[in-house]
Assembly symmetry: C2
Homo-oligomer: 357 residues x 2
Amino acid sequence: MRDLKGDNASWESYDQLLIATGASPISPDVPGADATDIFGVSTLESGLNIHRRLDKGGIKRAVVVGGGYIGLEMAEALVMRGLEVALIDRSAQVMGTLDEEMGALVSQALRDVGVTLYLAEELVEFETASGKVTGVVTDKRTLPADIVILGLGARPNTALAGAAGIPLGEKGSIRVNERMETGIAGIWAAGDCAESFHLVSRKPFYVALGTVANRQGRVAGINLGGGYATFPGVMGTAVTKICHVEVARTGLQEKEIEALGLEHVSAVIKSRTKAGYFPGAGEITVKVLAEKGSGRLLGGQIVGKEGSAKRIDTLATALHAGFTVEEMINLDLGYAPPFSPVWDPVVIAAREVAKKL
Amino acid sequence: MRDLKGDNASWESYDQLLIATGASPISPDVPGADATDIFGVSTLESGLNIHRRLDKGGIKRAVVVGGGYIGLEMAEALVMRGLEVALIDRSAQVMGTLDEEMGALVSQALRDVGVTLYLAEELVEFETASGKVTGVVTDKRTLPADIVILGLGARPNTALAGAAGIPLGEKGSIRVNERMETGIAGIWAAGDCAESFHLVSRKPFYVALGTVANRQGRVAGINLGGGYATFPGVMGTAVTKICHVEVARTGLQEKEIEALGLEHVSAVIKSRTKAGYFPGAGEITVKVLAEKGSGRLLGGQIVGKEGSAKRIDTLATALHAGFTVEEMINLDLGYAPPFSPVWDPVVIAAREVAKKL
């Protein structure tokens, strides 16, 4: 143990050890990456740093690098503050955890609020002047920038654990069993440094999300304290929003299904968040994916107006249950005009998939 | 067959017959019940009749008889139009499909928007003048009324079917099998005239709701046309709202569980619709009920601000899956601050129940 406030180091013995070292935002290995006014977002403090910088003034043009959750949410926040916002991503779409046609709806939502997108563009370097960022150079253009936000994902902080001989897994996260115990007896791991298990693919999976970290921590804590608890795994559920457009996903997307060698059918339907005639009914698009033949639900994606995102919970719960899309047709979900069409949009989508099996 | 526009009657043969006679609002058998300005609500037309009467003017004081969905929704609508609204119910609470402490939250929501409640009061008669209603007499008082709305529930229209020898079931509805076929081969029934099956109590059940009628009709239609479809039954899911307060329920309530002779444990928790620090986070109260010992989920009830009601779908889907409250703790539901606390309120409630098993 090293005292971070001094030079003191000491040894401390343990009966049970918990590793909860979290993850760090990925920083790009390109020239200029250490210039000032380039910010990662991972902690409350890093968010406050951006806030303080913006409050200081002189910032008109922001460039967000990366179109995942953090990138999109930062783009929204910067647009709301009145900045001119550009977002670049090396993929041809934002939100890589969505299939292409659903990702396109999110791109449109970003453009609708004024974000300029540069997709399929690779970050090459940052232009700087006196150590301060002034532009973002891609393989296609140079974007002037007063501030840059990095949303390139997170990498588990496992260098120490790995060096100590603790087995690592997906993306360098610490491999754990269902009880959150590592490959070394008496050493446990939980949170963004630890691996998860994907309950649909039945394979190890890494995801850095607060809800997963929180549940893992609870399970590790119970077991450390001599109790018994398990964390069976995740469905890959996630929700976000860009101003008035909500985005949600769960289970496997097309490329994940294909990687498993499974055949699937899917349907994309458009419906309304409330009865069509009810004031405030907004558009909602739902995609449902199922295994060809068996009809086993594999995943779902939602993009729509207020009241859309949390409908993913019905699909996530159905995934936990191992339901087929036919079984979903019989779900007795809540209906009243202020809340839903007679058939809930997620069930409409399941019904369309069932027709194609 | 009788031609309703003339006196002609004729016989028509059939191969397959569908009975879809619906239900009628219950009219109280008390003096004055046929006076003008007393309205039931069952069809679009009956809703329009009330609208037209209000538009004609001279209506200041409304009395709603019955505190179920229709009664509450009409009370809301009349309050929104600026009327003085009183609501009477013979029970000690409104929303008899909720347990007492949850019903009390709904009563409070009604009072908060200005509805005066008279609970545990029996309707005795209507006061009238020149054939027009002028007051509602209960066993405790007389309430002056310019208009009266009846929300006393619905009764299936099955007199003809019963007289024809078709077996009837719960509350006089037409008994059907999973395919919506009646006790007489070749005769089918669907909608508010037909019986359902409760998937938690595993007993016949009658409910007049659009979503159930719609799904029954789909199944009857497929079977009539030579296909094969089943309607396994309902969970008793329902949602409604009173201005900004949303109400939802699914599964069995306490009195239904007791009637089945089951022992149960329950928990009522208060949480927020979004992360507590997020703008617009509102209060949500969730009750979850489970079988003592086994932990099998039996039902759930929700009362809360915007974003509360449709969370019932997670509980309804978990009921379909036969999950225990412990299994619910592992659900991977959507989390982001604009949508939910890290632990969704329905899971917090399930976790509290799991501690008591």
